[in-house]
Subunit: 280 residues, 2 copies
């Protein structure tokens, strides 16, 4: 088995971590743009906590809350404009995979005003992207710990950007933000995480470290999924916590090993039939 | 269990990895200083492979091979002077824990000429350390993947420097370089690795990710140690490979969780009685 490990994201997890680690946000600068899709960030309490944390350490901010499901390059470009206009030193993305993936792209557009919407796929940049902080509100996507951002181009087709410059610098992982997810989203995101770990683990590029993460999270995800199917009930707080951490560990595996054909097939279902990513 | 993960080192492992990844060295600049203790780097073949790799991608280099066991701040300061004199853009450390720890300190001295030998412990730096690449030749220290460097001060006492600036940027991990280690070194370094994983795992700060690494490497280290004691024989190549990868995984755990009192006690045995670190 080969050895290949790279995970530059600092992940800090725990209850109230946004509040207790507020000082770390200050280290990124004096002004930030919060990038979000709206409802998830608000309903989960994450948006309010983040605003409070920024206030407490004297960081000015604006909110861009127009990121859609399957974020579009043009929306990200517009958010980049807003970031430049308000003089943001860094970005905080709050939400599920869409908002987090979009934040990575907004960071590119903010620092590279000459890029047109679909130019981003070339990743020929004149300046480094702004630093980004991620705060997840769903337990599944793994976008928190991946160097990938999947974006829908101006023709409606999904492609991804990836690379060292795309990683979050810091992720604050408070499982409580996933507690407002309804049953359908909880199941579909957990399925997504399960597939990330399983596809990564079975893939040809899976070395020792990603195997360790897969072996740790697969039984947890399987057990929680089985329980949810059987009882049709939402997870309690312990189960939510387990699910969220497992989704991060699945993300580690995915990021190192890549997905296999089930994920590629899923993109087609999402693009053409509007099936949510996790379920597809 | 808490969630806290940070491991910014890119670790690439495999046979001939120094050769196959030579181009990555070029990305750090046009000139480098190789920092080593001499015998381990030479006997293992790592020094020759590195020189060949640097030649192949047109990177100029000098070699500083005077790092002693339990490296001294004054030696590291002198190596920093050499790095400046030869205009090194980056450093490559080759060896066991002593050479690797020293390289981290040389990187600090190289960029901060005003520091006297023991000033380094304050880590009040006017410039960022030079980037560093690590190539290990013993399976045990875990220095490859830690943000810590243990140095002996000008009075003969061990203290450490630590922090984000101390990590290697890249580690090239070819288990074959550990194959020239004699029996005593192989056992004592494997013991060190076992204690890293065990102390880290049992420690109060051990979260999910370091647990995954500990659970993966502890049985391997235990099994290999037992076999070595029983047969009094050196490991074969498969066993060497397992030992080296396990020592890296133990390093991940150690780095996240810290050591407990056995390691502190060991420092005293090393300082006052010259017992090698792994055995102490």
């Amino acid at each position: 088995m080969s050895y290949d490990f790279y995970m530059p994201v600092r992940v800090l997890g725990g209850e109230s971590v946004v509040k207790t680690q507020a000082q770390r946000l200050r280290e990124f600068g004096e002004c930030c743009l919060i990038v979000t899709g709206g409802s998830g960030a608000k309903n989960s309490g994450a948006l309010q906590d983040t605003q409070d944390a920024l206030h407490s350490v004297g960081v000015a901010f604006e909110v861009f809350d127009r990121i859609e499901q399957n974020p579009q390059t043009e929306t990200c470009r517009q958010a980049g404009e807003v970031a430049r206009r308000c003089g943001a030193d860094f970005l905080i993305g709050i939400g599920g995979g869409s908002a987090l993936d979009a934040t990575k792209a907004v960071a590119v557009f903010a620092a590279n005003p000459e890029l047109s919407a679909d130019d981003i796929y070339k990743m020929q940049l004149s300046a480094s992207p702004l630093p980004t902080v991620g705060i997840g509100t769903t337990a599944g996507t793994g976008s928190e710990v991946s160097g990938v951002s999947v974006l829908t181009d101006t023709k409606g087709v999904k492609h991804s950007i990836k690379g060292e410059q795309v990683y979050f610098k810091l992720v604050l992982a408070d499982w409580r933000y996933t507690a407002s997810c309804p049953y359908s989203v909880t199941v579909s995101t957990a399925l997504d995480a399960f597939m990330h770990a399983a596809e990564g683990w079975l893939g040809p590029k899976c070395g020792e470290a990603p195997t360790a993460f897969a072996v740790m999270c697969l039984p947890i995800l399987w057990k929680e999924l089985k329980r949810m199917y059987k009882t049709q009930e939402l997870p309690d707080s312990e189960q939510r916590k387990r699910l969220y951490h497992a989704s991060l560990n699945a993300g580690f595996t995915l990021n190192q090993c890549g997905t296999l054909f089930p994920h590629q097939t899923g993109y087609i279902l999402t693009e053409h039939y509007g099936v949510p990513h996790g379920r597809a």
